[in-house]
Symmetry: C2
Subunit: 344 residues, 2 copies
DNA sequence: GTTAGCACTCATCAGAGTGGAGTGCTAATT
DNA sequence: AATTAGCACTCCACTCTGATGAGTGCTAAC
């Protein structure tokens, strides 16, 4: 059986109507759908075909049809018309409070949730490499040294080090010099025993201090810095009857609360990144690789703060989410985010 | 009318039973309650009195009674017997991953949620004063200075500063000396124009750099550092039918998501702190000053990391939460937390 | 003061009946 | 050959009903 133009039109009509109403749509409804002047009986025959082909389902005999995942997929791939929705207000809102990047992202999550009525998730930017650019050890008071480490992405880490007795200024000076010349440009895995031995030899004395210092450097570099994840509007899930079932809703909302769920998912996209578009993707039902979202759809987009520093935005809703609007909103938003980050 | 011993016993029996079952308890149930050998008719009379006094309510005629807020309050104040519950497993769990303080707190939130089946919230420690202990400006590369500021609570802040041209080492040396001598021990409000003018005069040149540096220092000190708030188990709310109503549940869960709700509430406790106990408090229904929690009870405790550095733990559940267990668990937990923080 | 007994109230549940939306099939129409 | 009208049928959703049972308040007896 072939998916001719008429079938496509009918399928589209079914999906559009279902997205609107959330209720199974019957043949008569479609028959009245202006464009195609067909009787309900004809539609019924076509619907039977569409069902056989797997694009639509019947919740039970004598009910209307609803789109299947396959149907949604076809819709998203070929029939969607992204609505150019306006997100002007966002920019204004942001300009005011535009503090640090994470403030912006928090706002974005909130804004999207409020505007779409779905649950949203925004990951903080993910930096890739972790090479040391600059290290400095300073004496803060008699008992504390402060280690400051700047990485090549200009992110800064610091850590207090407790010492038993004050360390003299010239020792620190020497230590700093050695650390910087030896470790500069290195990744944590490149800091091997040989290097460490060399540092110790050069310093001759104060091995205890050096030990703590090196330990701190290692720890700091290894420190997991999974990007922060900001969520908003998770309770919007409860607005959609097909998800509001207690156990389902709990599962989904928990996934948002326990943000680690998203880390695995964020990791995946590392390799597929690259094309310069904002890379908007739609995952329908089982296409989500997070099990608890099997009854949802998720639309994601990738934003870029600068070369090599990117993050993700995700919108989660029922399968019958308004894809056109969501994709439109994201599209428009991404443009604005680009502007905002360019200014910084 | 007086609240004699028998009435108290009956009230206690009603509340205990209701906490257990969650269903209105009738006179016959209480009559069978071993200790007091009274017929249901007698109980009924007493119940009528208790209702008149406002300790219990009838959801509708011909239903059993449920405790009123006033009843719960009486129970919590005078009849509760904190169960010494074991939270040994926590300590073990923590020892392993005992990384930074915030990791510990995150774990605590999770642990409590899992163990109590209520929603939990743990605020990060709140530092009180914000005096500068140490400032250092360093040159990272040609275009970037790095400002590191250590506060008197040993927390460290840092911020990159972009400059147009490299700043020479001796200038930085001088700047650091001046900044430290001038600003040391000061609060942000004490850094007035006169001081700033003095710094500028001493430096003579490089006013532009100084301007940015001072701006950064000011911003950094003012930066809101409302403590982080970790939540867990918010979806537990859905387990309690009296809260699982969609709009109620959404309100409560949103409050947890939008953590700012708790900030106002955390602030309040500033003044009432001080007694050396762990200060466990129970807020029932309308006693919560967060409106969205009017149908919940919340049990809070205060932990202390060290002198003057404390945070809060909150457990939110239905009014018929198991106060005995929750208070017991918190009590035991607080002891363990003390140990853990002492080690650090 | 306590209790047994009784009439009464009200929520909950199961079953029956109804209406409506929608289908699939067949026969008639174009 | 494709389309349509018509009809019997299915199934959900809703309402109404009566039965059940838990629980009460009151009265009169103990």
């Amino acid at each position: 059986m072939e998916l001719d133009e008429r079938k496509l039109k009918i399928l589209q009509a079914i999906i559009r109507t279902y997205l609107d109403t959330g209720e199974p749509v019957g043949s008569r409804t479609i028959s009245k759908y202006s464009e195609l002047n067909l009787s309900s009986a004809t539609i019924r025959n076509e619907m039977a075909d569409l069902e056989e082909m797997g694009y639509i389902l019947q919740p039970h005999t004598s009910a209307g049809r609803i789109p299947s995942d396959k149907g949604y997929r076809l819709y998203v791939d070929t029939m969607m018309e992204a609505k150019e929705s306006e997100v002007n207000s966002l920019k204004e809102e942001l300009e005011e409070k535009a503090g640090r990047v994470d403030d912006v992202l928090k706002q974005v999550a909130k804004f999207l949730a409020a505007n779409t009525n779905y649950a949203t998730m925004v990951s903080g930017p993910k930096y890739q490499s972790k090479r040391v650019k600059f290290i400095q050890i300073t004496s803060v008071d008699e008992e504390h040294l402060l280690a400051v480490i700047v990485l090549d992405n200009n992110s800064v880490k610091n850590q207090m080090i407790r010492v038993d007795e004050a360390v003299e200024a010239e020792v620190l000076l020497k230590l700093n010099f050695i650390l910087n010349t030896t470790l500069n440009g290195l990744d944590v895995v490149e800091m091997n025993l040989a290097l460490i031995q060399r540092i110790k030899e050069q310093m001759e004395t104060h091995t205890q201090v050096i030990d703590s210092v090196l330990e701190v450097i290692g720890k700091t570099l290894l420190e997991n810095d999974d990007p922060e994840i900001y969520t908003s509007g998770t309770t919007n899930i409860l607005k959609y009857p097909e998800l509001a079932d207690k156990s389902k809703a709990a599962e989904i909302i928990s996934a948002f609360e326990d943000k680690e769920t998203f880390h695995s998912w964020l990791g995946l996209s590392d390799r597929e990144m690259g094309n310069d578009t904002h890379d908007i993707q739609v995952y329908i039902g089982d296409e989500n690789n997070v099990a608890s979202m099997r009854d949802c759809s998720m639309v994601t987009a990738t934003y870029q703060i600068r070369e090599g520093v990117y993050g993700k935005i995700g919108i989660v809703g029922p399968k019958r989410m308004d894809y056109d609007k969501v994709v439109g909103t994201l599209n428009s938003l991404m443009g604005q985010l680009d502007d905002i980050f360019k200014e910084k």
